[in-house]
Symmetry: C2
Subunit: 322 residues, 2 copies
């Protein structure tokens, strides 16, 4: 079975760990969000790709969900001693090595997809990890600060400001000119099932879908497309998804996110059992819906995520045979 | 008193620490060798500039004479886990931060001299540290390996091969096209005395002198130029200076190094007391010579180096009033 997954960071990575448990023999291709990418200290940092790679490769800091386990911060402290920031982005020494290798390879002319493949030779994530695009796409968030509208990098909005101000707009800068990375459209065309993990529908899955060709390829793949709600009981499971949903005029609810994707894209949708009441609303929008537990309560073991993945694959099967 | 010092790495840095003790009120400009510079992991590393900066700024690993004190090697280990080398060059985590800042500033368009000044804002070495040139000069060493002549980067010869094979030639690649960094010729022209510390006469002081204009400026400055022998009792005090001296046809002796610089450049020369027998030979070459203790036996305190610096300044005074 060939599965394609559109993944953001922590939520996507933990779901993928469950999916590998649920479908150990599946051929899984992950299309990773790169709109969160940022240049720090002259180095190219790809937070979502790295979170997937570290999580599936056994190098993740389980507690925080991102960054490396057993991390130290010597380089960052030294940079601060030189007065060089930003200090609000937590780059550890182990993590730095990844960005140094990536930056060196990019400078040598390799596209991000080739660099990601090279990094994965070490981590052996057990999936094929592709960046959504080799072209630069950078998610910017428009905010009003002191009465002035300004655009900040997504990481500045998310990590530095902690989404403490409302997002007025979310713009994947460069997306219109971006091309899907080599292998992305081919993987979608060859997929038996396409999954949207409980990643952020705006700045993770939404950014991937903003690369011309990807949304169309998914809609035309002719295979079940099943998503999992990142909203449980009207609140994001993690992160501040409600903030960026509001920016695109979508209410923070499991049903509204499904409607936001729409039946033209989505065939099936899983909501948490606490949201069982919205199943009918989602189905009336033409999207098959089931309520199952959606809290990844044991991220390290992945049993809960595996159950979620099984439910998603089962719903896909229902869609296929309907 | 305005003193200009042409410095390589460890020997130059330790001598400078003594010079600051000997002449606390002097205005010291250091012209640092950059022929040892190397790009590692996509980062610009300037070993000699950093050794001077760390030594005078209190950050040096005293025992080894280079690199940072209290160093860890997480980044390097991680790079090795990615299969990315070289492993033979000992870059620690603290040191990495310096190279990251430098590389980022260079990429932003700042010349190396401006970058060095910025780094020194943190270290406050108490001297004005100038790279010999903002242009790229890279010392290559010609060696015969398995019957084949090849050119290796100086660091590869010195650190990886540990000078275990004979150097057939030493070439400061790019020197002919290089210009002295801003301030270098001005400092020389304004100097009251110019000192050659016991740095390597070929790959440290010699490389600095290979930048067109610097040798001429020193010869024409009309002020005493005094050097200290890096060879004591026919053996280099540290490093493998004999190997690169042989490559330029100079015997490894205190007298031969003075003659190599020549009376057109050098006015005074200090040899160690064990080499008192060569004083006459050096003076017959037109270079005023004195024998004093030249072993920096207490590098951390710098008393021995301070005595050496005092002897050098005293010899300069003799030259001036002769």
């Amino acid at each position: 079975m060939r599965i394609v997954v559109l993944a953001g960071g922590i939520g996507g990575a933990r779901f993928l760990r469950g999916l590998k448990l649920a479908a150990p023999d599946a051929d899984i291709t992950v299309i990773g969000n790169t709109g969160d990418d940022i240049h720090l200290f002259g180095l190219k940092v790809c937070p979502d790709l790295d979170t997937v790679m570290y999580t599936l490769g056994g190098g993740i800091n389980e507690e925080q969900g991102w960054g490396r386990t057993g991390e130290s911060f010597t380089v960052k402290e030294e940079l601060a001693a030189y007065g060089v920031g930003p200090e609000w982005f937590g780059l550890g020494d182990r993590d730095f090595a990844t960005h140094i290798v990536r930056t060196q390879m990019l400078a040598a002319g390799f596209p991000l997809s080739a660099v990601t493949e090279a990094l994965c030779e070490r981590w052996k994530p057990g999936v094929r990890l592709l960046p959504m695009s080799d072209d630069r796409v950078e998610t910017h968030v428009a905010v009003d600060i002191d009465g002035e509208r300004k655009a900040v990098h997504f990481q500045e909005y998310w990590v530095k400001l902690r989404a403490s101000v409302d997002a007025q707009a979310v713009v994947p800068v460069g997306a219109e000119q971006a091309k899907p990375a080599p292998g992305v459209l081919e993987a979608i065309a060859a997929a038996d099932v396409i999954l949207f993990p409980p990643s952020n529908p705006v700045v993770s899955v939404g950014t991937i879908l903003s690369v011309p060709g990807i949304r169309e390829a998914i809609a035309e793949a002719g295979v079940p497309v099943v998503g999992l709600s990142p909203i449980v009981g009207d609140a994001p499971v993690r992160g501040m998804a409600d903030k960026v949903l509001a920016a695109v005029g979508v209410e923070s609810s499991a049903a509204a996110v499904a409607e936001h994707y729409g039946s033209g894209l989505l065939d099936g949708w899983l909501v948490d059992t606490v949201d069982a009441g919205v199943v009918e609303r989602v189905e009336s929008a033409g999207i098959r819906c089931r309520a199952v537990p959606l809290m990844m309560t044991d991220p390290e073991v992945g049993t809960a995520a595996a159950d979620m993945a099984r439910a998603a694959l089962q719903l896909a099967e229902e869609v296929r045979t309907a």
